[in-house]
Amino acid sequence: MTMAKPKIASVWLEACAGCHMSFLDIDERIVDLLGKVELTATPITDIKIFPEVEVGVIEGALGNEEELHLAKELRERCKILIAWGDCAVFGGINCMRNFMPAEQVLKEGYVDTVSTVNPEGVIPRQDLPALLPQAIPVDRAVKVDVYVPGCPPDADTIYYVFSEILEGRIPTVPTDIMRYD
């Protein structure tokens, strides 16, 4: 009897894509992994709609309405949700802006930056998702089942986490391979 391969969906929110890059660093083991799982919506496959999946993976913190929406959507459509990397787990570098109000962040970015020419001081509101008051770790918005800190987590750690989930276990990252940088 052949069981359907478990499906994985991943999303790249407020982060640098380094975690997905680190995932690709599992090198030839990806062939083995692809034999066991089916990648659906990911930044790599460029499929934008999450199907119902067994495992959802979020890279990045939640900084705006769109990211919050995507996180909630993925949570609804997956059984196990992984917070991948320091941004998803702790908020990471995005939290640098939390030390000032969101309005000041926009002004800094669109008006005050030395390299910006914006004499009217226009801050785009229509075309961009609104900023949340603060960038937040994923578990401040939705329930997270597996935390994988690291900036990025090592490829071995990522592989370990997937392997454990495929074995039917909910892993915690062992201290000897955990990192925050």
Partner: protein, 662 residues
């Protein structure tokens, strides 16, 4: 000493009464996590990482502050403790900006290490995101309060080891902050001595040194080498970190060592900054206003041809750095003094050292060692600073003096012609208008101490009383005093009258500036100051390039007809004076021994191998001797040997009469 027994994690541990649970556990290799605790500093139990359970006590106790008691049953690794510790770490991470990805100390951070050790894969508490000040006002030390966990190590090291008391806490609760001088930025502080000890002990990325950040984490460095700082006779122990063949970081050894792991401003910045200076890597010969590269053969040939006739005529001299090792001093003195029979050999600090030597002589003649280890300032009950500016001359000794005066409540007295270097800390301050007045002052102090009746001022009476009553007075004598040997003798007389007797010698600490001044006494320091008067045809200068040359030496070089400068760095104006430049290894490329003021012979170790086309000093001297048709003679004096050997206990010292001050 093992007078109590307790059980920690089922292991029977023996400990001395008064030891803490942490110390008892440490002796038996039982690990208890700590964060605010640091060996050598007063434990304060503030971070609560070291909490343990003690049977029969419902509270958790901090192992670092709780004394071990007989029969105690201690548990250090229960699930409850693990959860408490994890909670503490999460609260610390939630409190301020502890995002490792953009911190220079990631990988070296003790907070990070502990969090990983405790498997902290999330933070369950709301992050506060409260902005704190990033104090970048100091040119060398950065203090980002957003990274601070208030462990107070910096405050403690600044107070307990450096004695500067620059740092303290301001405000309350969440807003509590480290501050300098009761509310100033660090760069504006008047009390900060820029020693960088605070950064060395900081467990997080709060206090960092600009010279070292992003040059390699301690954990990433290829090698760690213990050595000593050559910059003054304190001979502070250092640890240098090597990464890809260069010195990435220099630190004091440890807060547990007697000097508290301190480096002074000179060592902390002078050592690492020197590794980036322009190097001299090949011999160079002057052509007009510039230099051309030469090979060793040609350079040594030229030197030999100039040196031979000059030495015959008694018009050759050698000026050597007291920052050289015993071994180097042996080689050069064997060449110049014993092989070439030159008597014009001296050190850069020759005059200063002669002042001390001549002043010490009457006591050395009595078989008494005329000084004691500088660490004896700690534990002393009265410190008398005589014509010294320790913060400039030997800054770690100044730390000892401050710690002794402030924390140990020793009496501190200044006697000087100029300013009081410890203004505000002194119990007595006596100023003399001139060296002559100074001598009178010392003499009347001695008369008072000896119980002589004299119509003295109440201040003098009080100082005399302090000296009379002191059990272990220490006299710190500086270069201002050494300008006149009689004043040195008079200072030692005062020490004898005050019964400043220590096991290793008289309670006197001379401020010797060069790292190996004591080693130079036997080998290179001549009996007279020929350098100021001589018109020389040939002058050989061995410099480490680490200390600015004084006027006397530079003038002598200007007057000399042919100058050979042997130095690691392209230091100006030294190289401008040279006719031939010879490259030498820098302090981090040499090894050898130093006679330190602490009475220990300490080893300087090679940290990285020498770069460039270098030759060893003994090879050079051998080749020069060969070219001059001579055989290199063994040195007649060994550097560190018999330097003020104690033949009699210091208490046997007798006061010596001093003539009228010249």
């Amino acid at each position: 000493m093992s007078d109590i027994t307790l059980v920690i994690d089922g292991i029977e541990c023996r400990a001395a009464k008064g030891e803490t649970i942490l110390q008892a556990a440490g002796k038996h290799d039982i690990y208890i996590p700590t964060l605010c605790w640091m060996e050598g500093l007063t434990p304060i139990g503030s971070c609560r990482m070291c909490v343990v359970e003690v049977e029969g006590n419902p509270k958790l106790l901090t192992a670092c502050t709780t004394p071990a008691e007989n029969g105690m049953k201690v548990h250090t690794k229960t699930e409850k403790l693990k959860q408490y510790r994890l909670q503490i770490l999460e609260l610390l991470f939630a409190g301020r900006n502890h995002f490792c990805m953009f911190c220079s100390q990631t990988g070296d951070c003790e907070l990070q290490r502990l969090a990983i050790e405790h498997g902290m894969d999330r933070v369950r508490y709301p992050f506060l995101y409260e902005p704190f000040h990033n104090d970048a006002s100091d040119p060398n030390i950065q203090m980002d309060h957003n990274r601070c966990i208030l462990c107070l190590r910096c405050i403690r090291v600044c107070a307990e080891k450096v004695g500067a008391h620059t740092l303290d806490l301001e405000k309350r609760g969440w807003a509590t902050n480290i501050t300098a001088d009761l509310g100033k930025e660090l760069g504006e502080s008047d009390t900060c001595v820029s020693c960088g000890a605070c950064a060395q002990v900081c467990p997080t990325g709060t206090i960092t040194l600009r010279d070292f950040v992003y040059r390699g984490r301690r954990t990433d460095c290829d090698d760690q080498v213990e050595s000593i700082c050559p910059l003054c006779s304190m001979g502070c122990r250092i640890k240098a970190y090597v990464r890809t063949g260069s010195v990435a970081r220099v630190e004091g050894l440890s807060a547990a060592s007697p000097d508290g792991g301190q480096l002074c401003h000179k060592g902390r910045w002078g050592l690492p900054k020197s590794t980036e200076r322009d190097r001299l890597t090949v011999p160079m010969i002057r052509t007009g206003s510039s230099f051309r590269e030469a090979d060793w053969e040609e350079a040594l040939e030229l030197i030999a041809s100039k040196m031979g006739p000059s030495a015959e005529a008694g018009r050759a001299g050698a000026l050597l750095s007291e920052l050289s090792t015993d071994e180097e001093l042996s080689v050069v003195s064997s060449f110049f003094r014993d092989t070439m029979k030159m008597d014009k050999v001296d050190g850069f600090f020759g005059n200063l050292l002669r002042g001390f030597v001549n002043g010490f002589k009457p006591f050395a003649d009595q078989g008494v060692r005329p000084f004691t280890g500088a660490h004896n300032i700690l534990g002393s009950d009265a410190i008398i600073v005589l014509g010294a500016d320790p913060q400039e001359e030997a800054p770690v000794a100044a730390s000892y003096i401050r710690v002794s005066a402030i924390i140990e409540r020793a009496k501190l007295i200044n006697v000087s012609c100029g300013r009081n270097p410890f203004e505000g800390l002194t119990d007595g301050d006596h100023r003399a208008a001139s060296p002559k007045e100074m001598k009178k002052l010392l003499l009347s102090l001695r008369t008072l101490v000896e119980g002589g009746e004299e119509n003295a001022s109440p201040e003098m009476q009080e100082t005399a009383r302090i000296l009379r009553e002191a059990k272990k007075p220490v006299f710190v004598i500086g270069s201002a005093l050494a300008e006149n040997p009689d004043l040195v003798t008079e200072a030692l007389n005062l020490a004898v009258a005050s019964r400043a007797f220590f096991d290793d010698g008289l309670g006197v600490v001379p401020m010797l500036r060069g790292g190996n001044c004591l080693g130079a006494l036997n080998t290179v320091i001549g009996g007279s100051d020929w350098l100021s008067e001589s018109e020389l045809d040939f002058l050989y200068v061995l410099s480490t390039g680490m200390v600015d040359e004084d006027k006397r030496s530079l003038e002598a070089m200007t007057r000399a007809r042919f100058v050979v400068v042997h130095t690691p760095f392209m230091v100006h104006p030294l190289v401008n004076m040279a006719d031939v430049l010879l490259p030498a290894p820098a302090w981090f490329e040499r090894s050898g021994h130093y006679c330190t003021l602490e009475g220990e012979r300490r080893r300087m170790n090679m940290i990285v191998p020498p770069k460039g086309n270098l030759k060893g000093l003994s090879v050079i001297m051998n080749e020069l001797a060969g070219k001059l048709g001579r055989e290199l003679q063994p040195a007649s004096a060994a550097p560190c040997e018999n330097v003020y050997e104690a033949k009699a206990p210091s208490s046997a010292a007798a006061v010596v009469p001093v003539k009228e001050v010249r």
